[in-house]
Symmetry: C2
Amino acid sequence: MAEVNSLEFLLTAAGERALSEHELSEVKRILYGNPAKELEIPAEASAVADGKDFEVKVFGIGASPEQTRPPRRVKVAVVQNAIVLPTTDPIKDQIAALHQRMQDITHAAYLCGTNVICYQEAWTMPFFMCTREKLPWGEFAESAENGPTTKLVQEMAKKYNMVIVSPILERDETHGGTVWNTAVVVSNSGKVMGKTRKNHIPRVGDFNESTYYLEGNTGHKVFHTQFGRIAINICYGRHHPLNWCAYGLNGAEIVFNPSATVGALSEPMWPIEARNAAIANTYFVGANNRVGTEVFPNEFTSGDGKPAHKDFGHFYGSSYVAAPDGSRTPGLSRVRDGVLICEVDLNLIQQIKDKWCLQMTMRPELYAQALADYTKPDFKPQAVYEPTD
Amino acid sequence: MAEVNSLEFLLTAAGERALSEHELSEVKRILYGNPAKELEIPAEASAVADGKDFEVKVFGIGASPEQTRPPRRVKVAVVQNAIVLPTTDPIKDQIAALHQRMQDITHAAYLCGTNVICYQEAWTMPFFMCTREKLPWGEFAESAENGPTTKLVQEMAKKYNMVIVSPILERDETHGGTVWNTAVVVSNSGKVMGKTRKNHIPRVGDFNESTYYLEGNTGHKVFHTQFGRIAINICYGRHHPLNWCAYGLNGAEIVFNPSATVGALSEPMWPIEARNAAIANTYFVGANNRVGTEVFPNEFTSGDGKPAHKDFGHFYGSSYVAAPDGSRTPGLSRVRDGVLICEVDLNLIQQIKDKWCLQMTMRPELYAQALADYTKPDFKPQAVYEPTD
């Protein structure tokens, strides 16, 4: 059975044929909150996207005008894409093809006025961790500071005056050549601002990532860019509310969640977790996931009792932006490459913080203590039993 | 414009008329995960519900069979209802009418085999905090240990062999007659097991609750009942992931979220937050919300620049149960009283913990430290700036 295009596509198609206008708008309000405005795509950007066969969508999420602050409008973009060449092609060719693909997509994003863009997790490679093989896959890892991917990203960032978040596999030569799952942040000046590592590593299904790298040791950095304070919560970290929380404590205004995740495992959770983080921490979230099915040369098993196979299941795309007021954009396609650009007014953050007061009412002392207690080997949970009298 | 019945009703109606069977099942999979099985409602229960005009729904969420443990099947119920009498009627009459209403609903739940039931927040009264008036509303508060509501609940619990969670407004006579927003837990033996107080108090829109009571001081109790380890996260606490987390750290298997919340404020967040908590903390959540519009005798303003008015907006019901595997039941109606019963196999919790490993990979030390740092007045967020060289 063919993969369906997107939830939004089906709902709209069904709604328009079978619901009243009021009913359809209620479905959309309950599912997506305050509707994100669909903005026009510049003709030049459409031409690039059509020519190279990827989707472009542009949305806007505003804020109320204020008397003493001008709006802080920033265009945030998330990218989703399939690998370009088969996983059996020479590594250098696979990387070069993805480098070219991302240049095309970034160019279209630039034509839409993007200020900050985030590529998907481990964007220069297939997501090979299902194989548990070390060669040849380890050869995709490169230096975060001066590998070929970072050099290319620096060129693009400067040329397009764009902050670029580039999630790669990092080889840390100064620490024994260790591999990390890392996002490199490049300023719109073209300078490398720094890197931040994936804090939580999965051991689930085909995601044998703990075979390759450990939990990150870079904390919860927030990058103060010209276009806002950004942070990166890589993939599996989205299942950890404490991780999302820590980026918020450090002042993040936009948190990206570059991901690689397949339908059967996580799809019903995908619209929930990043959006919950935007609500609970009162910041914007850009969540992106790769697209398509990746086939590997040797068979592997998935720890689920099923026979060995060579493919990974369907990466379902569905990238979106979530806002602190509980609203979100529609998702990109489940089956096509694409870039979603959302113009957000960062003033919305303080407005919603003042409205909902979730930071003021957080009681961090209570939870610092609860977590400290929990870490003790002889931790005693707070428990109430049936009275014996 | 009339309130729409429920999201599920519209989606199913639209889907059946306009989508293929495969497309409709994909919509449901993406929105709700692994489908909860709709179970038959005993005829006697249907008769009670029809006679008294409320909805009954019964679902089942299973787990894989295990070799060394039998299934741990428990029927969990959440109730949603409107107030019965106008807010201008004598207080005793208002309470008596709600007592009677809840006896009918609890009777129907019993006929469906319910083991644990949770009523909605402050279930014996209208949600009067919008008024900021102290009289007559304070008269709805009563002792958690031996007030008339607790006595009634004890009778029902024993009669029906059912654990009952009874969220009331508590008057604490041993501490100056202070008011608290409290859930009383009564064992199926009829004994009061204890009480737990609302940990986070809103100051948003019409929810002037901090005018009446403070943040709870009972921690994150988990009640070890015959039918599982339960906890109660009252209403606004659902916006606080740390609060949900702490109940999980203390071993909760089922967390109830008795709520009172209106459409314009929170409806798009309603399907997100409790469900995210079930996923992130690997437990079941039963979330319930009252129904209907409550009109008060004197006009009040809502802090939103709009003229004074006497009603509160529409409480949208939509109660549901969410499971640790990312699935959830459909919601109850947005407009009718009802009780949703879900038979869950608590073995699913450990199965999903072992699959996703979210507890193993949580890194509590990291976050205990992050929160401890954050509480310091001179806290320095982790920040990265543009390099100056």
